[in-house]
Structure formats: C-alpha cells, structure tokens
Symmetry: C2
Subunit: 204 residues, 2 copies
C-alpha cells in the first residue's frame, strides 16, 4: 500500500510527527479470512524495526500450530542469536499460558482467558512490548469472560508508545468506538462452500 | 481460525483428500488494509511446510521496502544456510524485475508489468513454486497492461499443485469468478481520516 496522505488535518494542536507516532488500537473483525494473518504481518513489521512484540493467542488449542508461529519463533531465535530484528514472544492460551503453566489438567477456559488479560495489563503498565497482538480476543470478551469496560479503560489509558491489535469476529461496539483503525474482512467466496476442507499452507 | 468443516459435500467424484489438496486461486480485494499482509502470511505458512514460494510485487517502487520482505528474505536465507522451512523468492517490479534487470533508466511500467506476468506464466508451466503471491496484481490488469482473459485461462489450466494469491482493489469480475476463495477487506475506520500519517511498523 502506498504511504497514505491524510484527507483532513485536525485542529488538535499536535505536530504531524506527534500525530504520526501516536500509538494505535487496531481491530481486524468480520467473518472473512485474513484477520489473524494480517495481524501477524504487523508483528513482522515491528520485528523488522527492531521493536519488541508480544503475540497472545486466545481460544486456540495448544495442539494447533500455524506457520506464522514457527516463522515468528524462528525470527525471535535469530534475534537472540544474531541480533537481527527485534525480540518477539508468542503465547498460547491452550493448556495454560507459558508464564503460568500449572500442574494438573483441569482447564478452566474462562479463568485462563482472564489470566491472559491480566498479564497483558501488567505488560502494558510496564511497557514491555511495542506491539501486542491479542489474537481471537473478541471471543472471551463476547462470552463475558473478560470485562469489556476494563479492556476499553486499560487501552485508553495505556502509557507510552504501544500498539494493540485485536482480532476476531463480532468485535464489541465499545472496542470499535475506541479503536483508531478498524478493518472488516468479509467472506465473498469460500472453498468450504464447495465441500473443500482446510489444507496445509493455507489454513495452517 | 479453527479448521473448517464443509457445509456441503459435492457430487464431483473426488475423495475428500483429492478435494482437500486441490490448488486454490485466492483473492484479497476491497479498500481496507491487510490484503497484502494476509497474503504474505500465507507465504509463511508455505515456508513452514517446506514448500517453495514466489512473491511478485507489482506497482511498488523499488525504494519501498516493507517489513515482510525482510522477514521473508531472512527466512529464505535461513533456508539456504540451515535448511529451515522452504525456499522463498521476493521480486519487485520497481526499476525492473531482478531476473530482467537492464541498463538505462527508461522505465515502461506497462512493459514491466507484462514481463512480470510472462515470467509468472513460465514458472507456472514449469511448476517452479507451490505458492505465488501476485501482490497488487489487480492494478496492471485493470489498467489493461495485462490481458485478463490470458490471466484467467492461464490460471484455470495451470498444472500440478500451485496456489495463486492475488491482491489489490477492484479485482476484475472474471478473476473473482475463477477464484476459489475471495475475501474483501473493508475499511471501517482509518486514522488517515483523523489526519494521521502512515507510521513505521504499521504501514511498512
């Protein structure tokens, strides 16, 4: 995409540079494909700038592993070994977040989702990352596991220069209202309609 | 995204496995963001499977370099050095494609775009890659530089197991008709509307 040119210049007292560097809340929603994939691409743009990225996958099973996770972890490892790009972390809710893995296999998805959000709040307060990908985050919010007002207040008051990307269907209107950039992915035509199943390299 | 379950099973005489492995033409269109970024994510899924990928950026200036290009080239280099993942190539039209760089700085964008498409046709015939990303390909087609009927016929008759992803606004209806999977990215809210300019890590 070519570099954008603003269509209006607001009377907010900010310089172009201040406005340019304003941290964004980005939402990828809708029923179509590409919501998560496009979010992980933004993570790679941050890696390329040398900036720290945290990816948090809500909902996904611990067994489900997509190509982007391997790509991100490979690039994160290269950062560790050779200093290329920026540091990246990839956390999956699945059978418990990596920072809070506990014994036993009692899983309480609602509690796990909330624990994930609480960790993200701690990291936002500590300015741990420059970009946060909250993948499939709309679901635990819509299911009432995570309080949407807490999300909106936390994001609205986050310190420093931290971008937050939220993906998932049916994003809450309060999150849409807060967001700076919202894209809706719409399914126009899908091979599952022709009886085709998911395949390697496309769905994972 | 969870693995999809087909909503109908067609009476086409194919087994589920044959149907699953059917190569796809994928289109990311619409005025919203994420069309190219999501396509590059599919390229990473192929890299992760160890399959060869070719990215062809039409339109983009040679000076314009996005984070994904560095990520893809870094992973391609890692494949060369250590055998990780699959081979990837990234070609930009800009000041001439890498395989056809010529002296002089006379640039004829229409001729360059057509030369890019002709190279892609040769590679499809030779089954060079398993995934082709034709980024911003809708523009040279819409400008009449590349014949849409030739595109449709070539894609419809390509041999073997080759996925093709086409990105760009206003995809030609003939391409939409041919495609197996079409996603429209719609802009719901954009910071350029609030007078904000593009920024590092987000637009590139």
């Amino acid at each position: 995409m070519p570099q954008g040119v603003p269509t209006t210049v607001p009377d907010d007292g900010l310089t172009t540079k201040q406005r340019r560097n304003r941290p964004l809340v980005i939402v990828h929603t809708g029923d179509g494909k590409g919501k998560s994939t496009a979010a992980f691409g933004l993570a790679l743009r941050h890696w390329n700038q040398g900036w720290p990225v945290g990816v948090f996958q809500f909902v996904k099973s611990a067994k489900w592993r997509i190509g982007e996770q391997t790509a991100v972890e490979t690039l994160a490892d290269l950062h560790e070994r050779e200093g290329t790009g920026g540091p990246m972390e990839w956390h999956k809710m699945g059978a418990g977040w990596s920072w809070s893995r506990k014994d036993g296999d009692e899983t309480d998805h609602a509690a796990d989702a909330l624990a994930g959000w609480q960790e993200i709040k701690r990291r936002l307060a500590a300015e741990t990352h420059r970009m946060y990908v909250l993948d499939e985050f709309t679901y635990p919010v819509n299911w009432g596991w995570i309080d949407v007002d807490d999300v909106v207040e936390t994001l609205a008051n986050r310190p420093g220069q931290q971008h937050v990307v939220i993906t998932g269907r049916r994003a809450d209107p309060k999150i849409i209202e807060l967001a700076d950039l919202v894209t809706e992915m719409t399914q126009v035509k899908h091979p599952f309609e022709q009886g085709q199943k998911g395949q390697r390299g496309i769905e994972w």
